[in-house]
């Protein structure tokens, strides 16, 4: 049996009621094996962000179970969820990732400070350097560009070496070079530290870095590709458009 870091069982999430009802996820069942890198792709509005939000415990599905390390987190209370987010799960969103009143450095070490841990400063410095933010440690979010803000959030998610990392279009706002560096960091998290990464992306080249690609349409997983090349992915996506 495969050891799953995260396991979704028949997860359904519906927004709105009545005429405005939208089924964002329809009975989705999928496992993310420990130490694997999965990319989630699909057209805009197909439910990718919703899948990530439910899997990471940010949102509660209407039905179904989400197991992280074997425990059903849909039954967790707020305190248990907080501890989970602080120690086991890292998230990077599409937008609004940082606390405006804290500097880049303070934002990165925030989860550790909340848990009253003192992270190793040299590792914080190294992470910020690798995401291309050396010398920006003391800047507040308002003084950083959108892509830079997102990279601070990536450094924050990586610092605690959480078991699972969820990233919603982490390279969407980045240029090719920084995008590559971020992907390399995610890949390294998987290869060197055995972390599990789930990443939403629209970019076939980014998805080609993953071990596996899920294709989502209308709230359903319609295809799973193992170690596809960028061209293969592009063809699949093209065929579905």
């Amino acid at each position: 049996m495969v050891d799953h870091a995260v396991l979704l069982e028949e997860v359904t999430r519906t927004y709105g009621k009545g005429a405005t009802e939208v089924a964002a996820l329809r009975r989705v069942s999928i496992g993310f094996p420990r130490g694997s890198f999965t990319a989630v792709m699909g057209p805009s509005g197909s439910g990718k962000s919703t899948l990530l939000q439910c899997a990471s415990g940010l949102d509660r599905p209407d039905s179904g179970a989400v197991r992280i390390a074997g425990q059903d987190i849909t039954r967790f209370g707020e305190n248990e969820l907080a501890v989970l987010r602080r120690d086991q799960v890292g998230v990077i969103f599409q937008a609004f990732n940082l606390v405006p009143s804290l500097t880049a450095w303070q934002n990165v070490i925030l989860p550790s400070s909340l848990a009253r841990r003192r992270p190793d400063p040299s590792r914080v410095r190294e992470l910020l350097h690798r995401v291309g933010l050396a010398g920006r440690e003391g800047h507040r979010p308002a003084q950083l560009s959108g892509g830079q803000q997102q990279r601070v959030a990536i450094a924050r998610a990586l610092l605690g070496r959480p078991e699972v990392l969820f990233a919603d279009e982490p390279t969407g706002a980045l240029d090719r070079r920084t995008g590559h560096e971020v992907l390399a960091l995610l890949r390294e998290a998987v290869d060197a530290f055995g972390q599990t990464v789930v990443m939403v992306t629209h970019d076939p080249e980014a998805a080609a870095q993953a071990d596996r690609v899920l294709l989502l349409t209308d709230g359903r997983i319609v295809e799973v590709l193992d170690r596809p090349s960028a061209d293969q992915i592009g063809m699949r996506l093209g065929g579905r458009r």
Binding site: Y15, Q53, L58, D59, R60, E78, N79, A82, V83, L84, R85, R86, D87, V91, F93, F96, N97, L98, V99, P100, S101, L102, Q106, L110, P111, S113, L114, A115, R116, R140, P141, A142, Q143, R156
Partner: protein
């Protein structure tokens, strides 16, 4: 189009509108009601002796109203700076935005003025009844509905609302849309020149009034001291952000020591946004400064004259300043709630990186406590200066009479209403669904 926009703004900003509306209604009620009492008392010769006190309390009400309404409105307008910036980025001119803001304020002002005038009559009757009960006016005060006070209240209410809205609108459109969208509050000057100059001038004026207290006739000493307190409050609230940043830094460090996670969050937000903190601190300062000056001035004068009040007459001074205090306490709640409601997104974000609900509640509490503490310190300082000079006028010494229980009660009430406002406004963000619908 402007109408559609205005209506949508009202709908999406219910809380800000409710707060502004309530502030103006109560202000008009207070001013109109005190006016009715003063006019009624003027018709009775036997009430001549207390006329001074009545006028003084009416003036305090008026001052407090202007101060609070202006504060809430500017908070309300600036809180929506994102909306204004968005409108401008899609092509609205600064003039149009400014007109939109003024139009909204006008609607609020007119509706609130009408409601306030209606409420002024029962309020005046209540005041008159209190005055009869406490023996201040044993024969009662005839409250007749005359137009004079209403006209004053209406004019003051409308003028203040519109003026505050215009000033806030100018501030709101004075910054480029890009700066706002990137929320560059950090880069803005903490104390722009006009504000610094106005604040400095007010402080200087207050100092002159303080110096005058022992020089003027003994009868005018107490009103002069009260005037000094008011002018000093204006100065302190203009220069407040600097003081609040300093205190936030110091007290925040203590909080961060006692409660590392939550205290650190409170401190960083105070240091990064001292102007926001000052909008919440300034009603506290006003409450403490005015109430202490009024209450303890009466006490100091009584002590100097060898008067000891007993029975119901003990309540004369608290009653006269009571409604103004209730009003400022409500505005403490109001402004704390407004400054905290702005932070919903930030609080949700903190939850997503693993902040416990308890920790968040503590962070809100720390921040509110530090803000209240800063306001209390400023207010106490101002009141002490005015009272000391009054003491000098009465007895030749820089001493004054005071009541510790009354002071502690005031501070406690301010703190509690601040905490209530802060916790209530962030409740949904702290406990509700993480992804707002």
């Amino acid at each position: 189009m402007t109408l559609v926009l205005a209506w949508n703004n009202v709908r999406t900003n219910r809380m800000g509108f409710a707060a502004s509306f309530a502030a103006v209604v109560l202000a008009v009620m207070l001013v109109g009601g005190s006016g009715l009492v003063v006019v009624g008392a003027a018709t009775r010769a036997e009430l001549n002796g207390i006329m001074g006190l009545l006028v003084l309390s009416a003036v305090v009400s008026g001052f407090v109203s202007i101060f609070v309404v202006a504060g809430i409105l500017s908070l309300h307008v600036l809180r929506q700076r994102r909306t204004w910036a968005l409108l401008r980025s899609v092509g609205m001119t600064p003039r149009q935005v400014s007109r939109l803001i003024t139009a909204e304020a006008l609607v609020v002002a007119v509706l609130a003025n009408v409601a306030g005038c209606v409420l002024a009559v029962p309020y005046a009757a209540l005041m008159a009844a209190f005055m009869q009960m406490t023996g201040l006016a044993p024969g009662g005060v005839p409250v007749k509905v005359t137009t004079g006070p209403f006209i004053v209240a209406l004019v003051v209410g409308l003028a203040v609302t519109l003026l505050a809205a215009r000033v806030a609108a100018r501030k709101a459109v004075g910054v480029g849309p890009l700066e706002v969208l990137r929320d560059s509050a950090v880069q803005r000057r903490l104390l722009p020149w006009p504000r610094a100059v106005a604040g400095g001038a007010a402080l200087a004026g207050g100092a002159v009034l303080l110096w005058l207290v022992p020089q003027v006739k003994l009868k005018s000493a107490a009103p002069t001291a009260l005037g000094a307190t008011m002018v000093l409050c204006v100065g302190a609230s203009a220069l407040g952000p600097v003081a609040v940043r300093g205190m936030g830094w110091l007290l925040g460090a203590v909080a961060a020591r006692l409660d590392p996670g939550a205290g650190m969050l409170a401190r960083s937000s105070l240091v990064a946004q001292p102007r926001r903190a000052m909008s919440a601190a300034s009603p506290v300062m006003l409450t403490v400064a005015l109430a202490c000056t009024f209450l303890f001035a009466v006490e100091t004068t009584d002590a100097a004259a060898g008067v000891t009040r007993t029975g119901p007459s003990v309540w004369v001074a608290p009653m006269l300043v009571g409604s103004a205090v209730v009003y400022t306490v409500i505005s403490v709640l109001n402004s704390t709630a407004m400054t905290m409601a702005e932070r919903a997104g930030e609080i949700r974000l903190l939850r997503t990186v693993g902040t416990k609900p308890q920790q968040l509640a503590r962070a809100v509490c720390w921040e509110t406590l530090i803000v209240t503490c800063a306001g209390t310190l400023l207010g106490t300082g101002i009141a002490a200066a005015s009272l000391a000079m009054l003491g000098k006028a009465e007895t030749g010494e820089l001493r004054f009479a005071y009541s510790l229980p009354q002071y502690a009660g005031l501070v406690l009430i301010c703190t509690l209403s601040g905490l209530a406002g802060g916790l209530a406004a962030t409740r949904r963000a702290r406990h509700g669904a993480l992804l707002p619908d």
